[in-house]
């Protein structure tokens, strides 16, 4: 990176690409050649910066200038003003929403201040398609160290000391898993990277693979060395085309550099990686289901034990770890177990990546030390609730997790605290909800997902969840009874206790946790036939206030089903029998005459 004076880093993550960051990249490049600056200014595409809310992002180094919402047309101004004349383009700078001040140095942004980037250390810094940049930031040093200076046992010892726990949801200690797999004797063993990332609304693993694929490759090779495997497999969702491309490129480059393949770095250790594609089934994230899917079968889970570490892919010992778990490994080797273990809480060491989304100002990808509180995440990093609304709940753990509320805002986040609070860490989805979200509907949303994704192998999950959702639907329609609430609870418990795999064992959690924390909302639906947040359509009525209505006819013209009657300049009325409750009238009324009852 030495010879260039200025580096322009353009985010090439999925989110920013969706807002034309590729065209922006090309425009920047073109402008630079036009001005003859090719030897002084370098433009690269990087992985996700995390600040997806305000994408596309362009970062200018070395002065840490952080431009947000940059359009392809802004390229010329950035080059002419910033690069040539040294004047930052004020209108593109990030503005602190509270002080309205422009932030000149990204290190000063609230979004980044409380973050600690270990797994994401390279995302947004390097060009993921160029192995030299990874190597330039100590890449493959850990692999070299393991192969030449440490025995597999020593590496496993470091991993155990570091306290790294699996980031895929279960939180099983990674070092211990490696040790168990090492102890299983077989002629062939496998290292599997779980990149299925099924939690809807989460994109941590994808961003790591898109932004820093080599860190995962390096870690898999280290794992292979430890457990005595010569073959690695990445099970990745077919829905992630960009991550797949970047991974393929990275594997090819690693082979060319002798970091994968026969006789790695001349040490006699051989290891290579292949890709296997998922095909859209959430349950395939579960490790036994994942292994069946890799074998070309239906992705149905099987009873554990035997654990994959003993009998996995093709019946051989298989070490399955999550993408983020792997991404932590090279740093732990390089910087030592003590350093890693000094971060986080006693039982949860290190950091966790979360995909922060929902009703929050700064949607994006964040990495924070374990033990941080929800309040810090939501208000300091997340910038608070969107549109100044009231915070209501935050959902973690996806369809297996639960909702945390106001009461939990000051709980330090770690594996055990989240479980104690009725949710779980999960893979890292964190969805913030405000006063407008109906918690019964949210429970129904997750159940809907589970019912669709249940593999159908065992009855409690296949049939039980279906019954759960039927009851929830009834409640949302205003037809629920108090008996239904009891049934919800009892049935949930039975499903949890008797399902075969983790999917069924956790699927009722969204119901149980919303019932626990928002029981009054369930009661309102059942007893008063009201949805307090006005989300459940069957329970609300759109009404026109005769006092405010001026008879402009805007509502009547916009009603898709002609449910509104009234003369021009006369008061309008909504025919409740015809109304489909789409809310178009309320949106269109300039006089605030439409309200919800």
């Amino acid at each position: 990176m030495a010879k260039f004076k200025i580096h322009l880093l353009v985010c090439g993550g999925t989110g920013c690409r969706a807002s034309e960051s590729e065209a922006l990249f090309h425009n920047l490049k073109a402008t630079i050649s036009e001005k003859g600056l090719e030897n002084e200014v370098q433009v690269i595409t990087t992985g996700c910066f995390g600040f997806c809310e305000k994408g596309p992002i362009v970062k200018v180094m070395p002065d840490n200038t952080f431009y947000t919402q940059v359009t392809p047309a802004d390229a010329i101004e950035i080059i002419e003003e910033h690069v040539i004349k040294g004047r930052k383009v004020q209108r593109l700078l990030y503005e602190n929403p509270e002080t309205k001040e422009k932030v000149v140095d990204s290190k000063k942004m609230g979004f980044y201040r409380k973050q600690l980037r270990i797994a994401l250390r390279n995302c947004g810094f390097i060009d993921p398609e160029n192995i030299d940049e990874y190597i330039g930031r100590d890449g493959y040093m850990a692999l070299g160290k393991c192969l030449t200076e440490l025995t597999p046992e020593q590496v496993i010892e470091i991993m155990k000391k570091s306290g790294l726990r699996g980031r895929g949801g279960g939180g099983f200690p990674a070092g211990l898993k490696w040790e168990i797999t090492r102890a299983s004797k077989a002629d062939q063993k496998y290292v599997v990277c779980n990149a299925d990332e099924g939690d809807p609304g989460a994109f941590m693993d994808r961003s790591i693979l898109e932004g820093d694929p080599h860190s995962v490759i390096e870690a898999m090779a280290i794992c292979g060395y430890c457990i005595d495997a010569s073959k690695g497999l990445v099970y990745i969702r077919a829905e992630y085309p960009l991550a797949i491309e970047r991974l393929k490129t990275a594997i090819k480059q690693a082979r060319e550099y002798g970091l994968l393949g026969e006789n790695v770095l001349g040490t006699g250790f051989s290891f290579d990686i292949e890709l296997r594609y998922g095909a859209g089934a959430f349950v395939c994230g579960e490790e036994t289901a994942l292994i069946h899917s890799m074998e070309g079968l239906r992705g149905e889970p099987t009873v554990k034990p035997p654990f994959p570490s003993v009998s996995g892919y093709l019946g051989k010992p298989t070490n399955v770890n999550n993408v983020e778990t792997f991404a932590n490994v090279p740093v732990i080797i390089n910087r030592g177990a003590e350093w890693f273990a000094s971060i986080g809480t006693e039982k949860s060491r290190g950091t966790k990546v979360f995909a922060l989304a929902g009703k929050i100002n700064n949607v994006g990808l964040i990495e924070v030390p374990m033990g941080i509180t929800l309040r810090e995440v939501i208000y300091e990093i997340g910038g608070g609730i969107k549109d100044g609304k009231e915070f209501k709940a935050v959902q973690t753990g996806g369809p297996s997790g639960g909702c945390l509320t106001q009461r939990h805002l000051d709980t330090p986040i770690d594996y055990d605290n989240l479980i104690a609070a009725g949710s779980m860490m999960g893979s890292g989805g964190m969805i913030v909800m405000d006063e407008d979200d109906c918690m019964v509907s949210i429970a129904k949303f997750y159940l809907d997902f589970t019912v669709e994704e249940s593999c159908g192998r065992c009855a409690p999950c296949r049939i039980g969840n279906k019954r759960l959702i039927e009851i929830l639907e009834k409640i949302c329609k205003g037809e629920g009874t108090m008996d239904d609430l009891d049934n919800l609870r009892n049935l949930s418990q039975v499903i949890k206790d008797t399902s075969l795999c983790g999917l069924g064992q956790t699927s009722p959690n969204p119901v149980l946790s919303t019932m626990e924390n928002f029981y009054e909302e369930y009661i309102a639906h059942v007893m008063d036939k009201k949805c307090p947040s006005g989300q459940c359509k069957s329970l609300l009525q759109y009404i026109i206030d005769a006092e405010n209505c001026v008879g402009c006819t805007a509502c009547a013209r916009n009603c898709p089903v002609n449910a509104i009657i009234g003369e021009r300049k006369g008061v309008h009325v909504i025919d409740q029998a015809v109304c489909i409750k789409c809310g178009a009238c309320m949106e269109k009324c300039k006089f605030n005459a439409v309200f919800i009852k």
């Binding site: 809807p200 009703k359 898709p560």
Partner: protein
């Protein structure tokens, strides 16, 4: 099964056979084969499944079992412009359902269906990874962010000109 009655033309059949051969006719590679086959045909009709079963020396029932298990595989052709509404949690809490309802209303189809003229098909998917732009709609490869129910007709309009 040597003489399956195929409506596929011979050229397509041999393309399919080539795909199977690429994976050594190994039935452990079935999912990879299906990915490629769907890429080639756009969907996986019964005839295609039968050819694959034959090539990989497994039963058509097994192939069918796998195809129906995974939501990525489809047995019905998609529309010329496949529309997918993101129903991930981030999009859901930012109003994806209302957007979906509007698509259903304007196109007069349900999720999983194709309009009679074959122009549009409607489906849901879970998280495109662009949650910052929620709610998100994809038409083919193109991503539309921050879609409001009002914006739906404009999106459809872009493809009916």
């Amino acid at each position: 099964m040597a003489s399956i009655n195929i409506k596929l033309n011979q050229e397509k059949v041999s393309q399919l056979q080539d795909i199977c051969k690429e994976f050594n006719n190994d039935k452990g590679e079935l999912i990879n084969v299906l990915h490629k086959a769907q890429h080639l045909f756009g969907y996986l009709p019964a005839e295609v499944q039968e050819v694959i079963a034959h090539e990989l020396k497994t039963s058509a029932a097994h192939v069918y079992g796998v195809v129906t298990f995974y939501s990525f595989f489809t047995m019905t052709p998609k529309g010329e412009h496949p529309i997918s509404i993101c129903m991930g949690t981030a999009c859901y809490v930012r109003g994806a359902e209302k957007v979906l309802d509007e698509f259903k209303r304007i196109l007069k189809v349900k999720v999983g269906e194709t309009t009679p003229d074959g122009k549009f098909s409607l489906s849901c998917l879970r998280c495109v990874g662009a949650c910052g732009l929620a709610p998100v709609v994809m038409v083919g490869e193109k991503v539309f962010g921050r879609v409001s129910p009002d914006g739906v007709k404009d999106i459809i309009g872009e493809y009916t000109k």
